[in-house]
Amino acid sequence: MNLNRRSFLKRSAASAALFTIIPRNVMGKMGGANDFIAPSDQLTRGIIGVGGIGRSNLHFASDQNCRLVAVCDVDKKHLDSAVEAAKKSFNEDVKAYHDFRELIHDDNVDIVHIATPSHWHGIMAVEAANAGKDIFCEKPMTRTIGEGKRVEEAVKRNGRIFRLDTWFRFKDTFYGLGTDVKPLKKLVESGLLGWPLKVRISGATGFTWKFYWTGKENLEVQPIPPELDYDFWLGPAPYKPYNVHRTHQTFRGYWDYDGGGLGDMGQHYIDPVQYLLDKDDTFPVKVEVDAPQQHPDAVGIWRKITYTYEDGCQIILEGEGYESQGKVPYIEGPKGKVYKGFECTIPNIQEVINELPDPAPRNTDYLECVRTRRQFALNESNGHHSATIVNMGVCALRLNRTLNFDPQTQLFINDEAANRLVNQPMRGEWGKYI
């Protein structure tokens, strides 16, 4: 009995005056906690990209609050196995798409879950926003600063609810740091550490940069496997002859699609820091890199990346094998330091924290946000900000020099070449989507 709600919406949108789009709740009453959820109140979701992350236990789910109704992949093997798994696990006959545009415009899909390599995130998010869909996007948000900016604009312009999928700013133990972010936020906010602060994301403070996500140079040209539509997989990226290492999972090692361990883990680690430092609405003004020269195609390793904000706050990323030795603080201020496991130079820190007020409340239930149309805690705006920090590092690495950034214009200062990396060309028709 699943009515074709979307086409109804679209028709009414087209025929009615400006502000009279019929909402979902006109067609079904809000149910209580134990009530049957009418099809028109039940949210639905389609996943684009059912390889690694899209097929993980974390995301491949379907329940009465949010049904999985469609999947999309350009690898036929991935697609077939996802369809089969949906049948087996949730008894759902999900629609299978090869072209993500068809999934996005499928009227039965409310939420578009983007789980592709990151060179697709911008295009898909903008397309989904324009189609009036809410968006659940895996990290990193976008591959370039310009794409992030346009995703932010498109989501706003279409009034969509966007969630960027990393979560440490509001829950869970923060990797090897041995604490969640909340007590850190309370401490930072209290001013007890002084200002400005220096945050060190390093092996020594519990983080790993996964340098196995590096690329290979001089790739052999291999035959494209029959199940893979490689041209579509590349999409906006320049066409380079196929080698298996460019695709599934190991794609992270190539600048055309991602940015190695920095691209893969950077936003996970940096986003909570942006929250801690209360920098959700600004950007660093400088990025410095210490690294071997980078190959133009294959991502290499780096030793150190340092970001500086206008007020002097710094985020320091220390590469694997180049991290500080011994006991170094995670956050360091003029008046105090915090180490792994929330060890602190301020005596009796746990008691001090208990006396401080909680951080301001945030909306951390995405489906609830979709229903109430409230902004999610990690959204198109602060998500674009932390993705930009990652992408600033990528630009500096690729150009092998210090870059200065203007938070207002979101462009690099006096560096035309760097700004050409802010916006990058897209192959074929894809440029017109974003």
Binding site: A14, I22, N130, K156, N218, V221, P296, D358, P361
Partner: protein, 804 residues
């Protein structure tokens, strides 16, 4: 590599030979030479080298660019990496300098025309964008013609500019929730929120359904609209779902009057909402809560707001209200008061809390222990100990105070508790020790663990993890602890701890748990962690077996992060290199050298094969200082040439080669001699005597002091012994060449029979110096070095052969 470039270069040179070469650098190099030289440096390892090399290329652009681009091969040849490094490097470098920029741009433009294939062309075009003009870089993003129903409304609002406010208000009439929120959010994003707009939005409030009302209330809170506090208070009075939203909004807006309003709501319909808002309220709540509590006490019968007020006092640590909380607890007005006390007490409350702890019924003991601990929390540890100690003296149920004493974590408290436990086996004392973070508690905890107390074992492991800095010591402690672990949770805890103790021993021990059905997954994670962190060598075969098993375990587990782990292990496996046994060079073979250690086994040696282990082609020395058992050649030698390679892994490593020595004695004195092996560059050896430096015939002939290679690099050594003559050569340099008999003028022992021998440099007797034959031995003085490629030429055998 260089050869290939020369061939390619020659080909290019033949094509361009007629062109004038105008760009040359200070060293008078031609662009061709520059390109060749720069390619040999690719990729550079730091910015200084990068800027220098790219400077050369930029100075010789556009020629250098054309040359480089001309070398690009079709993608199928997969051989372009160094050229790609050079071109992308010079492009990045030149992009900041107008002169170079133009030259590189010209070079790229020419190169694009003649690019060898589409991949090369795309690559060059990408590079051109970084140095090109606006035309070169142009990216047009045309509007996609797809449907965008919601965007139309937004665009309309945007086109209205400041006048959009009216449209925002109108939008509130819409039945479409998404659209209403979009309009409100639009006003926030575009700074349209002003008194006028707020007034008009609030005016619409009553005409909205609940959902619309809540949207407006959220919006007022998100924008911190101070002017509407009274409105929000009114909404709260009316109750229902909007009241919740109004409370949240009021909390976000904040202010002194808001705190009063929120406190007044505690115990009423929206108590939970008010409580949440108060938890994040910025400001002092002590006085307000104190007064509210006091009023509740006066009002007599337990009022509904008592419990939430107490909870708040606890959560926000409102010490200003402690007297009232004590009173409520004493009068039995609320059970919550007991828990609250632990959040509001301070040192001034010690004696009354101690008294309660001493006298309370059994079921309240742990509560009062917590409260007493909280009383002294703000004091320094030593002061805490003194305070609690003196409280114990006045108590009659002293054992009730043990856990409070332990919580001070002072050395004194641990000693006291250990004495009590060891003499009386008092369970409270042991429990207090299990809670201690002081490492002194460890020995007692381990004893209790041996007797079967797993909670003591758990605490022991925690202490070891927190306090042991050396992996070797940590491993020793943890591996012992593992023997006493009974539950699989305990085993997993220890296995994870071993995973964070990245040495070879941990890897071998954890490997035994890979097949365990409960601990397998934990063991797999630990093995992966050890391999990624360890600096020690681990046998290739064991790594191969264990990592393959671990990868299988991750595959079966099957979450997304497991997929990452599988990739990580795959990479580790590809990096493993099997040992290829060392073989003698043809020359050494001809001379008659024999291999003593080819990398695979110690069959030609006897002695300590526990601290000298063959791993991945090397003899790894793990003998700890003072562990005197050495490794000796099976055979004895008189005249010989002994060759080997050595590698220091830690600063200050000490070992030695014993010559003509019996087994189990100090070869430096009871053997012919010991040739010193020592990282004498280490700062700890600043006061070293000259006869102790590397290569010295210990105590007899000082060696010429060499500078060792960096840690981790291999050095080569040859020791040649013929009669009384010893020659030591390190890395090709002769550092000892002398006759030991001459060195001590024939007096290997003091002529007067005393212990003081004026004829040797170390003034000691060397009774074994004139041994006729003996073993060759490695004499361990601590871990941290490796030997490999050990071979010997028996000169006596050789001469006897020749004689025949």
């Amino acid at each position: 590599m260089k050869k290939t470039f020369n061939i390619i270069l020659t080909a290019i040179l033949m094509m361009v030979v007629m062109l004038p070469i105008n760009a040359q650098d200070g060293r008078q190099r031609t662009p061709e030479t520059i390109v060749e030289d720069v390619l040999a440096q690719m990729p550079t390892q730091n910015q200084t080298d990068f800027n220098r090399e790219m400077g050369y290329l930029a100075q010789s652009a556009p020629k250098s660019i054309e040359l480089l681009a001309g070398m690009l091969q079709v993608a199928e040849k997969h051989s372009n990496n160094l050229i790609e490094y050079a071109i992308s490097g010079v492009t990045a470098y030149a992009s900041t300098n107008p002169t170079y920029r133009n030259a590189v741009r010209n070079g790229l433009n020419k190169a694009i025309e003649t690019a060898v294939d589409a991949t090369a062309k795309d690559f060059l075009k990408q590079q051109l964008r970084l140095v090109g003009n606006e035309e070169d870089a142009k990216v047009t993003y045309t509007e996609h013609e797809g449907a965008a129903p919601y965007a139309a409304a937004y665009d309309k609002l945007k086109s209205l500019g400041e006048n959009a406010g009216n449209e925002v208000v109108k939008a509130l009439k819409s039945k479409d929730h998404a659209y209403r929120m979009q309009a409100l959010k639009f006003a926030t994003d575009y700074n349209l929120v002003n008194d006028n707009l707020v007034k008009n939005v609030v005016k619409k409030y009553n005409s909205c359904n609940n959902e619309g009302k809540i949207d407006i209330l959220n919006w007022l809170g998100d924008n911190k609209v101070v002017s509407q506090k009274d409105f929000l208070k009114k909404v709260i009075k009316k109750g229902g779902a909007p009241a919740s939203a109004a409370i949240e909004a009021l909390g976000r807006i904040g202010g002194n009057d808001v705190a009063d309003e929120l406190i007044a709501l505690l115990g009423k319909e929206n108590s939970d909402d008010a409580f949440t808002a108060l938890k994040s309220y910025r400001g002092d709540l002590n006085e307000k809560v104190k007064n509210a509590l006091s009023k509740s006490i006066t009002d007599g019968n337990a009022t509904a707001n008592l419990d939430p007020l107490l909870k708040l006092a606890f959560e926000r640590r409102l010490r200003g209200a402690s007297e009232e909380v004590f009173e409520i607890n004493d009068k039995g007005l609320s059970k919550e008061a007991l828990k609250t006390l632990s959040g509001v007490v301070s040192p001034k409350d010690v004696s009354r809390v101690a008294d309660k702890l001493d006298k309370c019924p059994n079921d309240l003991i742990s509560d009062y222990q917590n409260i007493l601990t909280s009383c002294v929390k703000s004091q320094e540890a030593k002061k805490q100990y003194e305070t609690i100690s003196s409280a114990i003296k006045q108590a009659s149920n002293k054992e009730r105070f043990y856990s409070v004493l332990g919580a001070t974590n002072t050395d004194e408290s641990v000693d006291e508790l250990k004495n009590i436990y060891e003499s009386t086996k008092n369970a409270d004392a042991l429990k207090a020790l299990t809670q201690s973070t002081n490492y002194k508690a460890a020995t007692t905890l381990l004893e209790a663990a041996k007797a079967g107390n797993e909670s003591a074992l758990n605490s022991y492991v925690k202490l070891v993890n927190a306090n042991e800095t050396s992996n070797d010591r940590k491993y020793t402690r943890l591996s012992e602890a593992l023997n006493y672990a009974k539950s699989s949770d305990m085993k997993k805890t220890i296995i994870t701890s071993l995973g964070n103790t990245p040495n070879r021993n941990s890897f071998l021990l954890v490997g035994k748990y890979l097949d365990d059905k409960d601990c397998g997954y934990t063991a797999a994670a630990a093995e992966k962690n050890i391999v990624s962190k360890t600096e020690e060598d681990i046998e290739y075969e064991v790594m191969q077996t264990n990592l393959t098993k671990a990868m299988g375990i991750y595959k079966n587990h099957g979450t997304a992060d497991d997929g990452y782990a599988v990739d990580e292990i795959k990479k580790m496996l590809t990096e493993l290199e099997p040992v290829t046994p060392f073989v003698l060079s043809d020359e050494e073979k001809k001379e008659g050298f024999e291999l003593l250690f080819d990398g695979t086994n110690l069959d030609n040696f006897v002695g300590n094969k526990v601290s000298y282990i063959p791993i991945n082609g090397c003899i790894n020395v793990t003998a700890n200082y003072g562990n005197e058992s050495n490794l000796y050649t099976k055979k004895e030698y008189r005249n010989f040439v002994f060759r080997f390679e050595f590698c220091f892994l830690r600063s200050g490593v000490n070992n030695g080669v014993g010559v003509r020595t019996p087994m189990g004695v100090d070869a430096a004195y009871d053997g012919m001699c010991e040739v010193q092996i020592l990282d004498h560059d280490a700062p700890i050896y600043a006061g070293l005597r000259e006869y102790q430096v590397h290569g010295s015939v210990y105590g007899v002939i000082p060696a010429k002091r060499i500078k060792h290679k960096p840690l981790g690099e291999w050095g080569e050594e040859e020791i040649r012994v013929e009669g009384n003559h010893i020659k030591v050569t390190v890395n090709g340099e002769v550092i000892v060449d002398g006759d030991i008999k001459e060195a001590c003028q024939g007096h290997n022992v003091a002529p007067d029979g005393s212990d003081n021998n004026p004829y040797t440099v170390d003034h000691r007797n060397h009774p074994g110096m004139f041994n006729k034959t003996g073993h060759i031995g490695f004499l361990g003085h601590g871990a941290g070095l490796k030997f490999r490629n050990v071979r010997v030429l028996d000169l006596d055998k050789k001469t006897s052969k020749k004689k025949k």
